[in-house]
Symmetry: C3
Subunit: 311 residues, 3 copies
């Protein structure tokens, strides 16, 4: 094999791992889905005037894949996109919450690189109970940096850009459809109905069932949030949607066969995720950290554990 | 068997499970103890002008048993009352803390039903270290709803009804006896010396040792709380008592033989439970959630783990 | 053997266990290192006008060793100093944070005694993942008492004695050297460069590598804290140093061979410890408890888990 072809192949493998890694955020081991997700991230980041989020996403997934190649022996993980998805989420999240100075970018690259082995470490721990680490490496590492930012002057918060929904909340069909698609786009911390639609398309390219459950998850989340009087601005911004969407895709599609969870229990899990999210939002607010996708992880673990038969 | 007898038998089994489930809150697998506990709950709820607590207790234990029959294969658990005790506690707790609108009742029934399989799920996790989940399913599910209530306008807090003990705290023997019995009644979130006495009677019907340890637990808790200057209103209301009472019954009676914990260590565990409770009260206050029986669970787990011989 | 010689021998064994226990705080199973550490503690406690810290250290390590002899069968643990190190740290910490009335001393002796079996209990739990409990028994038991102090009037806080570093922070070489040595002395909650130097000597007596990593850990911690704009008073007081120093000694020396962690990863772990510490400081502040050595435990566990090869 010529040297040129060798490098071309390595670059191809690298880009493929990065794309599949983006797809794995929503459990799709598929480079095409990942590419559509990346297009969605870029659209949403530029639409909201924050291109640094798209840049962060790329930096995160690339750093993680470089670390994976350097530190790991298990290239099957890289091939399946399991190196990159936590790094990609870290790369989306840090620029959303922190000003983009060099310290932020160093922290982003450092924890995105660490996320690869943190995932295998936590997978080993969770496997004691037949569970995987889901997106908790992203959550824990991002919490470390965001909580540290309160003690470290060089890690400065960005002012919040959440939509102001007005009062009373507009409940017309077009408005509801916007909230509904935003709930899906927020999986990557993007607040854009177009991005949400692109994510649904990306899912459908790989699994119609996953796309369907993502749509059901966001819809059930909005209904639950409305029934229990959750913050209207949060509903409009889609922040009650992203964790339930992940729970829905995980339990309704990705782990459906292995866990044997019924449709009724999956719907219950979506509702419980909304409660866990509302609770973590309130409990973590005085500590100055966002819930991220922790409500999805906690609820999905609980329902996966519940699917095990009694001793 | 005639259809009539068949249904009569099912209803009998159902009521028996619900009663035993009430008994299991204090580790008594005994329908008679459970019935006396239920009488105590009704007395205390009506005495304090809050019948919704008694109604919640019934709704919780019934929902949990229905879910157990629907979802579980292991009817031995139901027979032993293990389906119902977390649901019963959820049913006592939610009306104590939240206004009784339809959203509260839906949340109550939903998490009471889930508590059955959450218990088996967490039992599976804890069994890695030879432990059971105790009342932690009740604690976690109630925490989810109570923390969510801060973000959800439809889940509104009830104003606190705790006794005002006056200053200085009345330390006459009759007053101390009242605090002491309230410490026992607070196991079911009831603040009534009569209910406390009924709970002691219910325990004694099944196990004299359990009744004795409940009394010792509440007494040691009051002495510890007084020595270390804990909040007088809390002492008078019995809120320093319920977790130590459960620790005392668990380590001194229920797990005594299997764990082989000495009387001295059980007394130490009661004192430590008071510290854990005082600490969790302070730490959880800014997060807006009560400690519930978490101090009992944490301390009992710790002392059960300690009873294992060194590696 | 005459009775005199028998008691002389027991006293000798007791003192040896206590000294080795002091050494074990920094992973040195060596009575001489422990003695130098104790001299350092006394120097720092008296230098800062707080002899009760030295007294607490002695009370803690002695209580723990008495409990070890009474409660444990495994005298090899005592011989290795594993009974005492958590008790010693408890004995240093409580007088730093709480006024020295009789309730504080009773709480100190009680939890120092319990720490022996809490260590074996948590070691059993952590061994599921091939980990040890490190100093987490000290952290958890001290958290219980310090959090309880907010609800218990008899456990009163001491006013903080941290140095005021002035603004801007003095970055001359002698000043930096002072902060650097204080970072090492803070392992035992002492704020004194002389004590820091004594700790390095104590380490070097047993392991040059450990002494070197302690020095590297404190230096890297200061550089990280400066780069990310951490609180100047904290940097000057050495409070950003003690957890990274422990991480450095643990990963770079004590567990180096068994875990096979590279120098690069050890340096990364030191940096991550600074972030975890900055984050826990911010998150725990509203809850009113200090991070203690929890950042060291969490980060060291994470990196030890990472050293396990992928599944």
């Amino acid at each position: 094999m010529s040297e040129y072809r060798f490098y071309r192949q390595r670059v191809y493998h690298f880009l493929r791992s990065a794309s599949v890694g983006t797809g794995q955020v929503m459990f799709q081991e598929n480079a095409l889905s990942g590419l559509v997700f990346i297009i969605g991230i870029f659209w949403g980041a530029f639409e909201s005037g924050r291109p640094e989020i798209a840049l962060g996403a790329l930096a995160g997934v690339i750093s993680a894949n470089i670390a994976g190649m350097m530190m790991n022996r298990d290239h099957a993980d890289g091939h399946s996109g399991l190196w990159g998805f936590n790094g990609l989420l870290i790369g989306c999240a840090l620029p959303v919450f922190l000003v983009g100075n060099w310290q932020m970018w160093i922290a982003l690259v450092l924890i995105a690189m660490l996320s690869v082995r943190v995932r295998t470490a936590l997978d080993n721990v969770m496997s004691s109970w037949g569970l995987g680490s889901l997106t908790i490496p992203f959550v824990l590492l991002t919490w470390i940096v965001l909580s540290a930012s309160h003690s470290m002057a060089a890690l400065a918060p960005v002012g919040s850009h959440t939509v102001n929904a007005g009062f009373p909340l507009d409940l017309s069909l077009p408005a509801l459809a916007t909230y509904w698609l935003r709930g899906i786009s927020q999986v990557f911390l993007i607040e854009s109905p177009v991005t949400g639609a692109l994510f649904v398309i990306g899912l459908a390219l790989c699994s119609l069932r996953a796309a369907l459950w993502a749509m059901v998850g966001s819809a059930v989340a909005i209904v639950t949030a409305l029934c229990f009087g959750a913050d209207p601005n949060g509903i409009a911004a889609g922040v009650y949607g992203f964790s339930p969407v992940l729970t829905a895709v995980a339990l309704g599609s990705a782990f459906r066969q292995s866990a044997g969870i019924s449709v009724l229990l999956t719907l219950a899990a979506i509702v419980v995720t909304v409660f866990v999210q509302a609770g973590m939002d309130a409990v973590l607010a005085p500590l100055g950290i966002p819930a991220l996708t922790a409500p999805f992880c906690v609820t999905t673990w609980l329902f996966l554990l519940m699917s095990v038969r009694t001793r």
